[in-house]
C-alpha cells in the first residue's frame, strides 16, 4: 500500500478515528485504525466494538492495500506536521512497519495485520431517512446534559430517540433523564422516519455524532434498527450499537397540572443563580426560590461558609411559594433557553417543576426540587 494525502484531509479523518478509540485498551488491535487505500480514496476505520467510525478522504493512491496502525500515535504525528504538507504513507518498505513521510520528517510505525481488525457486522435497518444537521444538533444538544451516568440505571445512559405524538401530530423526539432532571425535545418528523423503532443512543455515540453536525447545510443520513443506529455524511459513517434496555415511561413524569407560572429573563436568571451559589462549596448546592407577586428572591444558605441573596423582577401572579433546587440543575436548564424568556410552571415545593422557552412546547424540561 502506498498513497499520498494532504495533511488537512488526513488530520480530519484521523482525528475522528482516534476519538472513538478507547484510551485504555486491553485488546491491542482496538487501539489501531484500519487504513484501506483503493481507487482514489483512502478509508480510515476505528472501533471500540460498540461504535465504529469510517472516514473517507481523497488521496493519490499509488498502490492499493490495507494495514492497521496505532490511531493515537498517527494522529499526534499528523497534528504536529506543518499545515499544507503532503503526507505519504506506505507499508512497502519494512515488513510490519508503516512509513509516514512528509517533507524531511520520516516515521516508522508498528502495524498489526488488517485481518485481525474487527469490522462491525452490517445489519438491516428498519428505517432510513435524511435530516438536516441543525435539526439533529438541536435534538441532541438540548437533551444530552440530562443523560445519567449511573451504571445501575444503564438504560438512562443515553438519549432516547423515538417517534412520538406531539402537539401537532407525529414528531421525532429525543428524551434524556437521570431521575433528577429531564429534557424532552421535539422536531418535525422527517420523511421516512414514521416506522423508526425507538432507540437509546449511548452517551459516547452522542458525543461522536455531534462532530458530524457542524455544517448547518449538511443533510445527515440516519438509519435505525432495533440494535443499531447509523449517522452518515458523504465522508463519515458512524455506526453504533444502541443501549439494550427499556427507556422508562417518561410521559408520566412530565407534570401537566402545574399552574403557578413564573416568567423570567433566562440570562438574568442564570447569572443570578450562579452568583448566589458561589457561597456554598458543597457539591449539591441548594438554591431557594421565594416567589411573591412579580418578585423572585434567590438565596443560598450554607451554614459553614456563608449566605447570599438576590432579588429579580419577574412576572408571577400566583400565591407565595418557596421551593429549592440544585443550583447546577437550574443553571443547566436555564442555559438551554436562547430565544425567549424562560417559563417555569410550579405546583408545590415537593413536586417536579416544568420549564420551557416562552410558549414553545417543542423543548420541555422537568426538574425535581430539593428540600431547603
Amino acid at each position: 500500500m502506498k498513497f499520498s494525502i494532504e495533511r488537512g484531509a488526513l488530520l480530519k479523518a484521523v482525528s475522528q478515528a482516534q476519538s472513538v478509540v478507547e484510551r485504555r485498551n486491553t485488546i491491542p488491535i482496538l487501539a489501531n485504525v484500519l487504513i484501506e487505500a483503493d481507487g482514489n480514496t483512502v478509508q480510515f476505520r476505528a472501533t471500540d466494538l460498540d461504535i465504529e467510525v469510517v472516514d473517507k478522504a481523497p488521496a493519490m493512491v499509488e498502490k492499493a492495500g490495507a494495514t492497521t496502525v496505532a490511531a493515537v500515535t498517527l494522529h499526534e504525528i499528523v497534528r504536529k506536521l506543518p499545515d499544507g504538507a503532503l503526507v505519504t504513507l506506505s507499508d512497502d518498505g519494512v515488513a510490519g512497519r508503516l512509513t509516514v513521510q512528509a517533507g524531511r520528517s520520516n516515521f516508522n510505525l508498528a502495524t498489526l495485520p488488517k485481518e485481525d481488525f474487527p469490522v462491525m457486522a452490517s445489519s438491516e435497518y428498519a428505517s432510513n431517512f435524511s435530516v438536516g444537521a441543525s435539526v439533529l444538533r438541536r435534538l441532541f444538544d438540548k437533551s444530552k446534559f440530562a443523560i445519567s451516568t449511573e451504571e445501575t440505571r444503564y438504560y438512562l445512559n443515553g438519549v432516547y430517540m423515538h417517534v412520538a405524538d406531539g402537539d401537532g401530530g407525529k414528531v421525532l423526539r429525543c428524551v434524556a433523564t437521570d431521575g433528577h432532571r429531564l429534557a424532552r425535545i421535539d422536531a418535525e418528523l422527517p420523511m421516512g422516519a414514521e416506522d423508526m423503532p425507538g432507540v437509546i443512543v449511548p452517551r459516547k455515540t452522542v458525543g461522536e455524532m455531534r462532530k458530524l453536525l457542524d455544517d448547518d447545510e449538511m443533510k445527515i443520513a440516519v438509519s435505525v434498527s432495533e440494535t443499531k443506529v447509523r449517522f452518515a455524511t458523504p465522508e463519515i459513517t458512524l455506526t453504533s450499537k444502541v443501549i439494550d434496555g427499556t427507556f422508562p415511561d417518561y410521559t408520566r413524569v412530565i407534570p401537566s397540572g402545574n399552574t403557578r407560572k413564573l416568567e423570567v429573563d433566562a440570562k438574568d436568571f442564570a447569572a443570578a443563580v450562579d452568583r448566589v451559589a458561589t457561597v456554598s462549596s458543597e457539591r449539591s448546592r441548594a438554591v431557594k426560590l421565594q416567589l411573591d407577586e412579580d418578585r423572585l428572591i434567590l438565596s443560598v444558605n450554607a451554614p459553614d461558609s456563608g449566605a447570599a441573596e438576590e432579588e429579580l423582577a419577574v412576572a408571577y401572579a400566583d400565591e407565595r411559594l418557596e421551593i429549592g433546587f440544585n443550583a447546577k440543575y437550574l443553571l443547566e436548564i436555564a442555559s438551554q433557553v436562547d430565544r425567549e424568556n424562560a417559563v417555569f410552571l410550579f405546583n408545590s415545593a415537593g413536586d417536579p417543576t416544568l420549564m420551557r422557552e416562552g410558549n414553545d412546547t417543542s423543548a420541555v424540561y422537568v426538574v425535581m426540587p430539593m428540600r431547603v
Binding site: E150, E151, T152, R153, L156, T177, G179, H180, R181, L182, P248, Y250, R252, V253, S284, A286, N326, G350, P352, V366, M368, P369, M370, R371
Partner: protein, 417 residues
C-alpha cells in the same frame, strides 16, 4: 531494675519475687514506670464469659461461633491447645476438637461485660480507644500525679480488678506507641503483662515478621513477599521514597513502623466511616430469591444502625464471597444520602443484578459509607420513582411499630425468604 508485683501491685527495685507477698508473678523492665501507652486485650473474651457463667465448662474446650458453616469467633485456651483458632471454619475446628462445646454467641451479655470493663477504664484516663468489645488502647500520659501511681501499676490494677469483680482475665501491653503496645499485649497471653521500651525497640522488631503489623493482611503480605520483605530487618533496608512509590501511604506507614515509630494518637473520636453487615450462609447458594431475602435483611440492619446513629450515607456497597473464597465488591454512589432500608436494598439489589455469573456464594454483605448527618438525607426525590416518598413514609411508620412492639412485629414478605 524497676519491677512490679502483678498480684499485690507492690513496686520494688530488686529481686525475682515480690518482697511483700513473695509472689513470683512480677514484671521487671528498665522503662516500666516511664511508659504510658497501653493496650488491654481480654483473654478469649466470649469463652471466658461463658465459662464464668457456667463453671461446668471450666476445663472443657469451648468454642463460640454460629452454625456448622460459621466460623469460630472465639476459642477458649483449652480448645486452642488442640489447634482451634478464631476465624477458622467451624467444621475444621470440630475436626480438630470433636468434643468441643459449641456455644452461640450471647452478644448482649458480652456487651454488658464490655461496658463494665469500659467504666473501669474510664477511671484511669479519658483517652481510651476501644477496638472491639474486648480490647482497647489507653493513653495514660500525665495521669501519674492524679492516680498517685505510674501507668504500669494502674494497668496491673485494672486487670486484677477485672478478674476479681467480673471474672474475666486480660493481657496488657505497655509501650511508647500504639503499634508496639498492641504487639506487646499479644506476647504473653493469657494474663500477660509485657513491656517494650524505647531502648529495645529496634532489637525487638528486627527478626519479627511484618505480618504481625495490624493491617498487613494476606494481600499486603503477598505484595511484600514479592519484593522480598518478610521481616522488619528487610523493611529497614528500604528507602522511604521507594516504599512510598511501591506501596503508597501504606509504604510510608511501614517505613515508620520499621523504626518502631507510630504517631497515631489514642483517640475515641475516630468517626465512623461506614456501616456494614454481612452473613455467611450455612450452605453456599446462588438462589436469587434466597439472596434477595438476605440483601433485604442486611439492608435493614444497616439502615437500623444508620437511623440509631442519626447518620445517612451516599455510597451503597455490596460484597459477595464465592465458594472459592474469592470476593467481589460493588459500590454505587447515590445522588443523595439515605438511611432508608428501601433505598439501600434497591441499590444493593441493582448491584447484585449486575454481577455476572450466578454464584454460588458463601457470604453476602451490604454496607453504607460516605456518611453524613441524617439532616442531609433525602433532600431530593427521584423523578422516575414517584413511589419512593410513599415507601419512605411507610418505612418510618414501620419503624414506629417495631419500636413499640418489637423488631419482628412487622416484616416485609421478602424478609422471610
Amino acid at each position: 531494675m524497676p519491677a512490679l508485683c502483678k498480684d499485690c501491685l507492690t513496686p520494688f527495685e530488686t529481686g525475682t519475687r515480690c518482697p511483700a507477698c513473695r509472689s513470683p508473678r512480677i514484671v521487671a523492665h528498665p522503662e516500666l514506670f516511664a511508659l504510658c501507652i497501653a493496650h488491654m486485650d481480654c483473654d478469649a473474651f466470649y469463652a471466658s464469659v461463658e465459662k464464668r457463667d457456667n463453671p461446668e465448662l471450666a476445663d472443657k474446650p469451648v468454642i463460640i461461633g454460629g452454625g456448622h458453616r460459621g466460623v469460630v469467633s472465639t476459642a477458649c485456651y483449652v480448645a486452642r491447645i488442640r489447634g482451634v483458632r478464631s476465624a477458622m471454619p467451624m467444621f475444621q475446628a470440630l475436626k480438630l476438637c470433636p468434643d468441643a462445646v459449641v456455644i452461640k454467641p450471647r452478644m448482649q451479655v458480652y456487651v454488658e461485660v464490655s461496658r463494665a470493663i469500659r467504666s473501669m477504664m474510664d477511671e484511669l484516663t479519658p483517652a481510651i480507644q476501644p477496638l472491639s468489645l474486648d480490647e482497647a488502647f489507653l493513653d495514660l500520659t500525665g495521669t501519674q500525679r492524679l492516680h498517685g501511681a505510674p501507668p504500669a501499676v494502674m494497668m496491673a490494677r485494672l486487670v486484677r480488678r477485672m478478674q476479681t469483680e467480673l471474672g474475666i482475665t486480660g493481657s496488657v501491653g505497655l509501650s511508647h506507641n500504639k503499634f508496639l503496645a498492641k504487639v506487646a499485649s499479644d506476647l504473653n497471653k493469657p494474663k500477660g503483662f509485657s513491656v517494650i521500651g524505647q531502648a529495645e525497640t529496634a532489637a525487638f522488631l528486627q527478626d519479627k515478621p511484618v505480618r504481625m503489623i495490624w493491617g498487613v493482611g494476606q494481600a499486603t503480605q503477598a505484595a511484600l513477599d514479592k519484593v522480598g520483605i518478610r521481616t522488619f530487618a528487610d523493611l529497614l533496608r528500604w528507602d522511604r521514597a521507594d516504599l512510598h512509590a511501591r506501596f503508597g501511604s501504606m509504604g510510608e506507614r511501614l517505613w515508620h513502623l520499621a523504626r518502631g515509630q507510630d504517631a497515631r494518637r489514642v483517640s475515641s473520636r475516630e468517626p465512623v466511616k461506614s456501616i456494614s453487615n454481612e452473613t455467611t450462609f450455612s450452605e453456599d447458594t446462588g438462589d436469587a430469591d434466597i439472596l434477595d431475602g438476605h440483601i433485604w435483611r442486611l439492608s435493614q440492619k444497616v439502615a437500623d444502625r444508620a437511623k440509631a446513629t442519626a447518620t445517612a450515607g451516599r455510597v451503597v456497597t455490596l460484597k459477595l464471597k464465592l465458594s472459592d473464597h474469592r470476593s467481589l465488591t460493588r459500590r454505587h454512589s447515590l445522588h443523595a444520602a439515605t438511611q432508608l432500608t428501601d433505598d439501600i436494598y434497591r441499590n444493593a439489589r441493582a448491584l447484585f443484578d449486575q454481577v455476572p455469573g450466578a454464584g454460588p456464594y458463601r457470604l453476602i454483605g451490604v454496607g453504607l459509607s460516605g456518611l453524613h448527618p441524617e439532616s442531609e438525607a433525602g433532600l431530593s426525590g427521584d423523578l422516575l420513582d414517584p413511589g419512593a416518598a410513599t415507601r419512605g413514609r411507610a418505612e418510618r411508620a414501620t419503624d414506629e411499630i417495631r419500636r413499640k412492639f418489637g423488631d419482628k412485629a412487622i416484616l416485609k414478605g421478602r424478609a422471610l425468604r
